[in-house]
């Protein structure tokens, strides 16, 4: 299940959805907005995305990971718009028969989301707006073409 939404992610509800599947392992990752960057306090971040492309790119990642790690269920939710420090940004939940596959799939999905899904972040401070730059180390993790 994939969602791109403005509102906060209800993590408990999503975990319940995964646990309903009665499988062996559930893993989740929650990305959270940081309160600080290198130059100080962040008031909020703002995430922009390319609506016509976003869900399609996330779906490609989900399909690949679900097949490779034999997932029973997978939930990916990414937010856009203004997000305050401490609020969740992204939720990835994977459910599989065994923990190894659930862990590996979850890590793969978040790594690929960062580099392959069309989202852009701005960090807003008191008098300063910064476009977040992509990190080389994130791009280096991308080794699979699907």
């Amino acid at each position: 299940m994939i969602k791109v939404q403005k509102q906060r992610i209800n993590v408990s509800e999503q975990n319940r959805n995964l646990l309903k599947k009665r499988i062996g392992a559930v893993v989740n990752f929650i990305g959270v907005a940081r309160p600080l960057n290198n130059s100080g306090k962040i008031k909020y971040i703002e995430i922009e995305h390319y609506p016509k492309m976003t869900e399609k790119k996330i779906k490609e990642i989900e399909v690949f990971a679900s097949k490779k790690w034999k997932l029973n269920h997978c939930i990916i939710i990414h937010r856009y718009g203004k997000i305050k420090p401490g609020e969740n940004i992204v939720y990835v939940g994977t459910a599989a028969q065994h923990r190894n596959n659930a862990f590996k799939a979850c890590e793969f999905i978040i790594d690929y989301l960062k580099v392959k899904a069309p989202f852009w972040k701005i960090e807003q401070q008191n008098n300063k707006k910064t476009y977040v730059k992509s990190k080389k180390k994130d791009e280096k993790k991308i080794k699979v073409n699907y």
Binding site: G31, K52, M53, F119, Y131
Partner: protein, 83 residues
Amino acid sequence: MKIVYFSWLKEILGISEENVRPPKNIKNIKDLIKWLGTKSIKHRKVFLKSKNIRCSVNHQIVDKNNKIKNNDEIAFFPPFTGG
């Protein structure tokens, strides 16, 4: 041809999209970037930094040698920073 801009490109240009009619000799993304860079001072500022710009044609990420057609939706943006 519809051109869509995101992130700092959109801010510098002051627009999120525009419809353009490039001359017939504009055959691929590389040509289009050169041509768009001549449209205004703002466009020049954006496309001078074209090494840091990625693009998609009809929602598929492509490289700069990709051919383009009149009815394409072409988007320009910096590398993604979600997650």
